[in-house]
Assembly symmetry: D2
């Protein structure tokens, strides 16, 4: 089940230390111009080594398209792409090939498949998210065509929170700093925390906020495939994601209906809108034309440089000290991944809705 989506679908393949990773996008409408610079830019934002804070591993992440594009435009045929793995350094991993690293997938994959690719996480490495970024960037290009935009940014690192609502932020600043937080002052504080955490050989979690704007009302399916249910599924499938909220999210649990309800009104263009947006743009599972606003919580990266107790495949208890290269915080790199997955979900729903209206 390495395929995501129902009408706009993509299938992912590849291991972090194998030959290549890549994917096949199926169901993309034809005639969409491919903006290679945009895709490359989003990939660059995802890859490690982009800042002083992140892992030192250099992944040029050059995407090569193999099919589905002719004379610069999508043809409607499957779009296959490959990103070759160059800087693999599998040897880094050989020393702990029998060890189940705490809170990594080594153990669970071993149980599931009866084997484990000890070369650095294999399939469950965050490197797979590059595939999502390519597929999602193409979804973003289709959405852009329709006037819909998707944005994400870091709103929390450790205990440092950006409390200003997104509507008061200049989201064009997000990618101007390594933290991917549009408020420069807060970004600096987050950066310092990450730096401090790195110095201590530790890691830290964080939160990414996402916003989808200009979405038509009427997207989402009534019962199981609610817009936010699919969005939640998409977000929780990102490596290290641990929580999802739409609108007020967990805060809604402590609210009264009289506080939470969004009153309808007619805006100056004669459109039905709500005065507040506690619902986060989704009511009864279907978009209402307001901005879709959601948040995704990420746990701290499991790779820390402190001694940890663990066990081996032969059930021996050992002390384990990690040596290698990793990020103190995955959250800045998750921003383009959140954008990609949100775009894929949105386009899928748009296509589903077109199918059903004769």
């Amino acid at each position: 089940m390495n395929t995501f989506g129902r009408l706009f679908r993509f299938t992912s393949f590849g291991e972090s230390h194998g030959k290549a990773i890549g994917g096949v996008i199926d169901g993309c409408p034809s005639g969409i111009e491919i903006d290679y610079d945009f895709i490359t830019e989003q990939l660059k934002r995802r890859r490690p080594g982009a800042s002083k804070i992140a892992s030192l591993r250099k992944e040029p992440d050059e995407v090569e398209f193999l099919s589905g594009i002719f004379e610069g435009k999508t043809t409607g045929a499957p779009i296959a792409f490959v990103i070759y793995n160059r800087d693999q350094r599998s040897k880094d991993y050989e020393t702990f090939r029998d060890i189940f690293r705490p809170s990594h997938g080594d153990y669970t994959y071993y149980v599931k498949y009866g084997n484990v690719d000890y070369r650095g996480g294999g399939r469950y490495s965050a490197r797979e998210t590059a595939v999502r970024v390519v597929a999602g960037s193409i979804a973003m290009l289709v959405l852009k065509h329709l006037g819909i935009t998707v944005n994400a940014y870091v709103s929390q690192v450790g205990d440092i929170k950006l409390d200003i609502p997104y509507s008061e932020l200049d989201l064009s600043l997000t990618y101007t700093n390594d933290v991917r937080c549009p408020d420069t002052a807060v970004a600096n504080r987050m950066y310092e925390l990450m730096h401090d955490v790195k110095t201590r050989g530790d890691t830290v979690g964080g939160v990414v906020t996402g916003i989808i704007r200009n979405l038509p009302a009427g997207l989402g399916e009534p019962v199981y495939d609610k817009f936010h249910a699919r969005l939640s599924y998409a977000m929780m499938s990102i490596n290290a994601a641990r929580g999802f909220e739409i609108g007020e999210g967990f805060s809604a649990a402590a609210m009264y209906g009289s506080q939470h309800n969004d009153a309808f009104y007619i805006n100056e263009d004669g459109q039905i809108r709500t005065l507040t947006n506690h619902s986060g743009g989704v009511q009864a599972g279907i978009t209402n034309g307001m901005d879709v606003v959601f948040r995704v919580a990420f746990k701290p990266v499991a790779t820390i440089f402190k001694p940890q107790q663990t066990v081996t495949r032969n059930k021996k208890t050992v002390e384990f000290v990690y040596k290698g290269r990793h990020d103190p915080c995955v959250v800045p790199r998750a921003v383009p991944v959140v954008e990609a997955m949100a775009a894929a979900v949105t386009l899928d729903f748009l296509m589903l809705q077109r199918a059903v209206r004769l």
Copy 2:
């Protein structure tokens, strides 16, 4: 897309004020004994009118099975069931047939389908969750066969939180009170809050905690169909759900890796387990044999008895005062629904895993 699941699937139908609601369960293993009392009990726990707090609407929720069961056991054929709507009182709703009730689905459904069933929510009524309870109860019976248990309970109502970890609670007490909180003292405080809220004509949100125990390691798919991604999708598809967490959830954002990592050890039965369970039983998307622990946030019910501003289908602004019967808090009734959906997800993954191991 009114079907849930991949191998253990169910399809839901029916409107709250139509003839009936019901569903078809497809892919259920054959030879499972049907415990009608258990299904009836779970349905009873879901239905409104079960306590003094909840809505006054009486829904006997008698489920009638039409197929797939022969001599008390599942046959492997689709299991269809119907719950007839008896106490409909559609007239309650006629007075506001042109009004888009704030934070209900009236408006979004109208845009999506070009029509609206004004008889009380139609398809987006929480009444549909009875279908989930029937299907999920049958999943629970299959799981029970395999020694796996699923439990849920109310852990927050408004600002009253149950802070004791589930391992220190006696979960068999959950359904002994109307709040479905296993700590009687906290349950009483929650009850008082709900009562108070009701008196004020208002509603309040809350949180349900879920636990899946005795699950084998190895369930869940590697990338998109991570165990907690599908679980999140299932939970967020429940009416009024606004947030989902696995393990530490949003708290993980403020933690360090050295705090969050779960060290492996060998337990007295020679099994690989973790000393802590910050991961909530899922690592890299796959179960690790520890309890799966998750939380779902619910918003306050949109139906309040205070005057609200809204608009009509003809884009007139009106003041709206609701008259009818509803719960001040949906969370107690959501408990069996959370159990049902968690069981459905779990059984689906169990079946997928069997398929792939030759």
Copy 3:
């Protein structure tokens, strides 16, 4: 896997001698007027007992809709329907409850599910096709809305073939006789053969031809989901179907390219059409705007009234003589089923095509 279709989907349930059969149609566009008379008429054409030739079992086949229709029109919500089984006579079957009837599903179902519903075929009875007729009739109503028509008729019974091409037949005569053959003279000969076969306690096979007209060009998916591949799947899923052809079908194997190719020309309306239609309306898996023409072969019904050797569940060899009520030829009753399934496939492809064109 009792669900058919991708966007226009229906899920079937029920056993021939259980309480009821029925289905849930999901994904049907909203606003379609339901023509109950048409559905009833198609059901009547399918049911046994409609002619002197067919089985004596009386199945009134009264369909009751439970959801998805409001004020006579589809709402976009799932359309559930039930047909209760009235004339069941399960006792007819009790005498051979341990016997695997030759060429029935008794044995294969027993192996598959570990149980067998001895009450007359249970799930694999042709009675299930009533569900297809209801769902397909609704698809036909949607197609009619778009000007597309679906027709089928009997073109062979035993060795009696109707050799006149469909374009020279008056298809409105199909349902005027019990054989469902639009050529009255040939229909009479077929009728006599069926009558003769019945007298001998035997059964006979036949062929149904189907035609879809006014279909737009461009429907069908490029590689695996070719229009005729899905159509073939749909037809071969009908009880007793043994072969499928599109266009020239098996005859094409003995043709030369110079005979088989369809030359393009511009018709008087300026449309691109082909001079001949050896392709049967589908080229490279996609409709070309010509009529889609296909044929389905059906085997003789397995229930014959002659002594047959078989074995029991306990592996005893026995002689078996069937006593009961059945058709000498299933093909006339298959006609509305072929129409239903063809309509479902066509509508599904129409919806898929709408989704992908922005």
Copy 4:
């Protein structure tokens, strides 16, 4: 919808004159040893230029695996593979870039996607079948593991038929001649016909027979996903396929029940088997443990070297004479493709059946 299968799935990509074709196999069980020689052999059997009869185009068809295999065995992760296009000669096609070649997909693709890849069929070229051969060969390796074999052979070319039943043939001789017919004498006659047809600049159709042996009873789904319905779908999705039969197929239409029924008996190993196999190994949609026997009809290749009338994109009528390289008969090359698709369907059903038996 370029994905085939439900549990054992593969997604195909690539155009015949683009950079590459390839695929991603998802859901393959882990621990299966990859026999590269076998895959290469099957690919060689499919590729054109393998005999004097076939097209002169040389396609080395070297498959490169990018993922999912570690130390020679499948890991359970997606298996991606690429076959680069080397001998493309797109210029051959430029001369008729605006012409809709009769009975090719040029027109239907143009209507569907609003563009056409004039470089030789693009996506609808039979070159895509190489992807099926790779995926299906891996399915065959898994099946071999379980003792199940899949074979196909040419049983008709033009009007020359091999009338001997498969049980009297030595199927190991199939690939010893260019025609892929296990009866050498008949193969020679077929070869002469193909040669003659080629000399005349024409093409001819044919039939491939397939046999699946050692299959357990109990595979196949009851209603829509009957074993032979999925098999039919798989076969009809192969380029140029026009008809499908299981067991007696269209001949069954002219048979009586007393001729067609397969009597059960107990074989010397105490197993339930049938004395005859008119059913072709499938009863009521589910395998009965006998050999599955089916036939697929292929039309003559559309590319002939005689002048043909057609139209251009600008709706001009033109005479068209093809110049290029193609086969006089596609049927010999279809043999490994039929084997591949049959294996994929079989493995998929095996996995589905494992899932449902607890």
